[in-house]
Each structure stands twice: as C-alpha cells, then as structure tokens.
C-alpha cells in the first residue's frame, strides 16, 4: 500500500513539474540575451545590478544571466559549446580566447565599432589590442590590468627601506627582499614567484621576446637565452634558502587560499604578487587602516620593462548568437556608461574609457585610486602586449611547466638547467602539434 501511495504522489508531483520554473514567459516582442561570467559574490551582485539598470533603460530586452566560479565557468562553457548552446555574451579570458577564436566560436566585434554600436572614442587602441586575434577584435576589454607586486607601505617604512622605482631590477629585488626579511622577520613576498607568468615575463623583460613565437608553433626564445630563466630560478632558490620567501612546500600547500588568507593580509609577508585588480580585494580584507601601493614587477637589468597592459577579461559574443546587435549594445553600455561603472567601481580592472575613468575619480576609494595610479605608471613604462597564448599553453602550463619542471626544480630534484632544458624540449613538441 505504501508504494502505491508513493507512486501516486510521484505522478502528482511530476505533473506539477510539467511547468518548469525557469523564466519562460513567451513574450515574443522581447529580445532575450543570455550572458555568462565568472567571479565572486561581489562581482555577481554588481553585474546583476548593472544588468537590471540596463533592463530598466531598455524594457524590450530581457537578460538571462548565468554565473559560476572560474573552474565551473569553463567546464560549463565547454559543454555548452559542444552542445551548440552557448550564451550570447560570454566573459572571456586572454589565456583562452585564441583557442575559441581558432575554433570559430566567437563573433568579430569590429563591425559593431565601425557601425557605431560600440563607441570607442574614449578608448585607446592599445587597450583594445589585447582582444585582437590576427588583427580582428573578438574580445572587448573590460578593464586594464597589469602584473604587480602589492606592497605594504607601513612594513617598508618599518624596515627603513624606500619603495623602489618603476624600473627596479631583480637584483634590487633580491637585496630588498633579504633586507626586509632581516629587519622584519617575515617573508618579503608571499610566494607565487614560480608561476608560468614569470616564465613568460622573463623573456619579455630580458630579451624583448616571449615564451612563444608569434605563430604559436614554437618557443619564442633561443637556446642561448635559456640562461635568463635559469638565473631567475636560481634567485628563487637562494631566497628560499634564506627564508625570505616561503618554500615550495608551503606555497603549494597554500594554493587556492583566498585573498583573505594571503600573507600580505595577515601580515606575514610584505609583498604579494598578483594582478592589479586584486588590490581591491586585498585592501578590503586587510582593513582600512592599512596602506598599500602597487609596484611594478622587477625587470631584468639592461633589459626591457617587464610590465605590459593586459585586459583583465573580455566580453565576447558567441558566433551563433541570434541577437548579436543587441548584445553589442549591452557591451557598449557596460563599457561606456558612467552609471554602470559607478556600480562596479573598477572591480574588473581599470576602465578602458578615459571618460569613465575621469567620471569615477571622485568616487574612488583608496584601493581603486592606488590601482588607477599604478596603471598610470605602467602606461609610462611598459612593453607591448604579446599576442594571446597559443592553445597548447593550457597543456604546457598544467601538465608540463608545473608538475614536471618547476616542482622538481624547487623540490631540489632537478637543477634549474636541467629543468629549463626539459621545458624547451617538451614544450617544442607540444607546440608543434
């Protein structure tokens, strides 16, 4: 008897589920846009507020949004791509956009600029460059970023060391790091000096080259330039030995820790490596009374500037979007509307429109101000941005660089020379495919 009841109940509930609770009001005159982004709670809240603002100004548009964290975003997008079911507007990333363009999944955005749907009068060409693949614009820059060492001003003061200038070198850094550690007893920097960004950055800075060549078919530096990265790694080993930076064990054990738990916030390190828009989160976590500034990443002596201006993320439009023009209009609003940007306050990076930047000035908190200042400094001292990474980069970064090169080197199982050679060998193979 119990099961007959169960059966009945099941059927009843199924019937009520026939009307799915998704937003399916078939209002034919409304244009529906789907948009997907990754981020954290703050970004979700802000972006939704902007969307609602847009909808209130454009009542014929209904924007359906999806958001997740970084990993889930890409897992979902890949699945949707395979299923032919991509959202109209996709938040994209410099690292991945090349691959998506190569597989014909995104729509070129130049036509919308030419037709005036997207207004770029206040946007420098350099800001758009990062979203171009083979000269065609596929991703619209949502905010400028650059690599930075976030520095705790008070700690520097306490140690009696002056803040370094924009063109400081790795030698300067080593000296300062050792001194900071000596004076304050904490780490000079919180770790993350082993990431592949530094590999790429080394070749930008030492040799005006890049890790990859322009076509993405091979490495962008020659064998006799290997030694630069070797020197960099040896510096890391020295600093680890001296206790000025955390060991690889410690760094790996702490991967994935949030901003709130980072050493610079908990005052166990004086500096922290990251992207410039991270400062907002860092300052918020650390508290108002702290003082931070953003420093450039050290360059190689007699070399070129290490920093380059990079789009933090893009809005892209999927190739088969039925409402591409409307999507473009939304992008235009997002980039150029002062009201929208007042909600977001540069959470995604420094806005690319100079008009917006000016309008935001009075509203900027100390973190945003520091960030804007920093980008200003970088504008005066930078190397040009390189083309987006080739598709093989994901493979090289996740499967070769990390576990087979960097980790063995830093755990002492391999010398830097051996490691760099292995990297060259294997990366070339992967890039040729």
């Amino acid at each position: 008897m119990k099961n007959k009841k169960r059966l009945l109940f099941t059927l009843l509930v199924l019937v009520t589920l026939i009307f799915p609770s998704a937003s399916v009001f078939s209002q034919d005159d409304k244009i529906e846009l789907r948009i997907a982004w990754w981020g954290s709670q703050t970004r979700h809240d802000q972006t939704i507020a902007v969307i609602e603002l847009y909808e209130s100004m454009n009542p014929n548009v209904d924007i359906v949004y999806e958001f997740s964290n970084w990993d889930d975003h890409w897992t979902k997008l890949a699945t949707q791509a395979a299923g032919g079911d991509l959202p109209d507007i996709i938040q994209h990333d410099y690292q991945r956009i090349q691959e998506w363009v190569g597989n014909d999944l995104l729509l070129p955005l130049d036509p919308f600029i030419e037709s005036g749907v997207i207004d770029t009068t206040n946007i420098a060409d350099a800001s758009l460059a990062g979203g171009r693949v083979n000269g065609v614009l596929y991703g619209f820059n949502l905010g400028n970023n650059s690599e930075t060492f976030i520095a705790d001003v008070d700690a520097f003061q306490q140690a009696g060391i002056e803040l370094p200038p924009a063109d400081w070198t790795w030698q300067d850094f080593e000296e300062i790091a050792l001194k900071l550690h000596e004076e304050l007893g904490i780490y000079a920097i919180g770790g993350n000096l082993h990431l592949s960004e530094h590999w790429k950055g080394t070749y930008i800075s030492c040799c005006n080259a890049y890790a990859y060549n322009a076509e993405g078919t091979g490495l962008g530096y020659t064998e006799d330039q290997d030694h630069f990265f070797v020197e960099y790694l040896e510096m890391i080993l020295r600093l680890t030995e001296a206790g000025a930076i955390p060991t690889i064990e410690e760094t790996l054990a702490r991967t994935g820790t949030s901003v709130e738990d980072s050493y610079i916030v908990t005052q166990q390190a004086v500096m922290e490596y990251g992207w410039s828009n991270m400062l907002v989160a860092v300052w918020a976590a650390a508290g108002e009374e702290r003082n931070f500034v953003e420093l450039t990443v050290p360059s190689f002596a007699d070399g070129y500037p290490r920093n380059y201006i990079k789009p933090s993320m893009f809005w892209s439009i999927s190739k088969d979007s039925p409402n591409a023009e409307e999507a473009a209009k939304f992008i235009n609003f997002f980039i150029n509307s002062v009201e929208a940007n007042e909600i977001m306050l540069a959470e995604r990076g420094v806005p690319v429109s100079s008009a917006v930047r000016e309008a935001l000035q009075p509203r900027l908190g100390p973190a945003q101000q520091a960030m804007f200042e920093f980008l200003g400094v970088v504008e005066g001292y930078n190397s040009p941005i390189r083309p987006p990474d080739p598709p093989a980069h994901a493979d090289i970064n996740n499967n070769l660089y990390g576990p087979q090169v960097i980790e063995p080197i830093l755990y002492g199982l391999m010398t830097p020379e051996e490691g760099v050679q292995l990297l060259r060998q294997e990366a070339e193979i992967l890039l040729e495919q």
């Binding site: 990993d71 890409w74 897992t75 890949a78 699945t79 791509a81 395979a82 691959e99 998506w100 597989n103 999944l105 060991t247 690889i248 064990e249 410690e250 760094t251 790996l252 054990a253 702490r254 991967t255 994935g256 820790t257 994901a394 493979d395 996740n398 499967n399 990390g402 576990p403 087979q404 980790e407 063995p408 755990y411 199982l413």
Partner: protein, 313 residues
C-alpha cells in the same frame, strides 16, 4: 489448502515450469531501469567509447586515430603512470581503512542504548560534508602549519610539516579524509546487522558462546552479502575518487603529482586542455580495470559469501 501444499515436495513448488512467464515478469520489473538506460545512458556510454579512438577536442571535433590515445597513455605520458600510482596507493589504504572503521563503528552503534541516534548522526556527519568547499577549507586548516595534525605530530616530538605541500605526506591527507568519511558503508553495515535475527544471538548465548564466537560464527557469515556489496562499492568509488582530490588540491594533483588521482587527471585532460578523446580513452581503461577487479570479487564470492536465499547471480 495448506494440507495439500504440505503433501508436495518442497523443491518443485519453488520453480515455475513455464519459462515464458518468468521472462515477462522479470523484464517488467526491470523495465524502468532498461528504459532509462537506453534513453539516457546508452548513447553517452557508446559515444565515449567511440570517442576514445579519436582525437576529439571539445571545441573542434574529432578524427579517427585508432589506438593512438592508448599508445600515448601507456608509452608517452609520464603523468599517466603517476596518476595510476597515486590512485592505486590511495585505494590500497583508503578502502580497507574505510571498511574496517565502518564495520567496527556499526557494531558499536548496533545497540539500543540511549543517545545512539545522535552518535550515529555524528559518525555519519563527516560523510555529509563530502567534497564541498567547506571540507577543503577545513582540511587545509587541519593540515596547515598551526593545525591539528601538526599539533599531534609535535606531541610525538616530530617537527611541523606542510602536509599538503609535502610529496610524501600529501596523499595521506586524502587517505585520512576517505577514512574519516566512512559513514556510508557504516550505515549499510548497520542495516545489514539489523537484518540478523536476534534469536540467533540469543540461542548462541544460551549455548554458551562468547562475544568473539558470536562475531565470527554468526555476525560475519550473515554479514557477507553486505560486506561483498560494500567491498565492491568502495573499490569502485575509490578508483573513481574525484571531488575530494579536486577540491583539496585545487585541481592540480600537486605536489609532484602525488595526489593526481586518475579521475582528476582524466578531468584535466578533458576539460582543461579539452582533449576529450584522450580522456575517454583513459575512462575506458579504468572501466576495464575496475570491471576485471569486480568480476574477480564476484567470482570468488561463491567461496565466502553466504546468502540466506540460495541463488547465485
């Protein structure tokens, strides 16, 4: 009616002589599963098998490449073997630990004492947190510099260690996590224990049996179907462990690939570099291995598993 029934020999009554009827009934009963299987599971399984022989890239499409994926896996991919190593090591320790804890605690909680419901909930609690973000943070905290694990280590005079970053210790944090989450097999053991009739124990007591004898002569034999089930399930689950490893190592399998579980590596190949063809090949290799192991356990089961209802598979 009962009289005539008693007159018949027992055996013949049990079987239907008309095969057709049993077939229909049988298929009727399993029809829900059959339908769902063909609608939702069959195609994905066959598709993934087919894709294993291609170079399917999620964003691009596929080309037939024969056995290349398998060749690469076995000969050209050092990470593959490391993932096998990590997984085997994990299964070797985590599965027995889990089963032993589960049975021990189930026996402990198989009682009518007061408060036992709360205790059961408490022992089940760890399993409920599963592979959530919360467990990742908790585990990182417990195995962090100032955490409980190092505290205990210090008590034994050993220096503190960065557990999650140490190539020798990192996998133990995951093994311990698995052992900690023994709630599911424990519950199943509990249900199995509940199925053993009280009278058996009572009769044994009257006959003068002690605790040990009761356990080995009554409990264990009657529990074998459930042990069998738990063993197979935990083996399968152990080999396919993904979420916990993903969440705690942040999807990387660091350090030095010592925590690169097979399912994790598979996911990375499938969704980080989009090499879904290769990932499918990996998946089917794993399926083959698990299937063989399971078949072995099934084969040997007639030796050690005792069913009340004497019917083999």
């Amino acid at each position: 009616m009962a009289d005539t029934a008693l007159a018949l020999p027992k055996r013949r009554v049990g079987k239907r002589s008309r095969f057709g009827e049993n077939n229909l009934v049988g298929y009727l009963f399993i029809s829900p599963w059959l339908v769902a299987f063909f609608l939702f599971a069959f195609i994905p399984m066959v598709a993934s098998l087919g894709l294993a022989f291609t170079d399917y890239h999620i964003l691009r499409g596929w080309n037939y490449i024969g056995l290349d994926n398998f060749h690469r896996m076995f000969y050209d991919d050092p990470r593959y073997w490391r993932s096998v190593q990590a997984t085997v090591k994990y299964v070797l320790f985590a599965v027995p630990l889990r089963l032993v804890f589960a049975l021990a605690v189930a026996m402990l909680l198989n009682t009518k004492r007061r408060g036992v419901a709360l205790y059961r909930a408490a022992y089940y609690a760890p399993s409920v947190v599963g592979g959530s973000i919360a467990v990742a943070v908790m585990w990182r905290e417990i195995f962090g510099r100032e955490g409980l694990a190092n505290f205990i280590l210090n008590q034994f005079g050993e220096p503190s260690v960065w557990w999650l970053g140490n190539p020798d210790y990192a996998i133990w944090t995951l093994i311990l996590l698995a052992a900690w989450q023994f709630g599911s097999p424990m519950l199943i053991f509990l249900a199995g224990l509940k199925q053993i009739p009280e009278q058996l124990y009572e009769s044994a007591s009257i006959d003068g049996a002690n605790g040990f004898q009761k356990f080995f002569r009554i409990t264990l034999p009657l529990l074998t179907p459930v042990i069998f089930f738990n063993l197979i399930m935990q083996l399968i689950a152990g080999f396919m462990t993904f979420t916990q490893a993903f969440v705690i190592t942040n999807g990387s399998g660091r350090p030095l690939d010592t925590t690169l579980f097979y399912a994790l590596y598979l996911y990375k190949r499938g969704f980080e570099t989009y090499e879904m063809g290769y990932a499918s090949a990996m998946a089917w290799v794993m399926l083959a291995v698990i299937a063989i192991l399971t078949a072995i356990v099934f084969r040997t089961s007639s030796q050690w598993v005792y069913y009340e209802a004497q019917e083999g598979v």
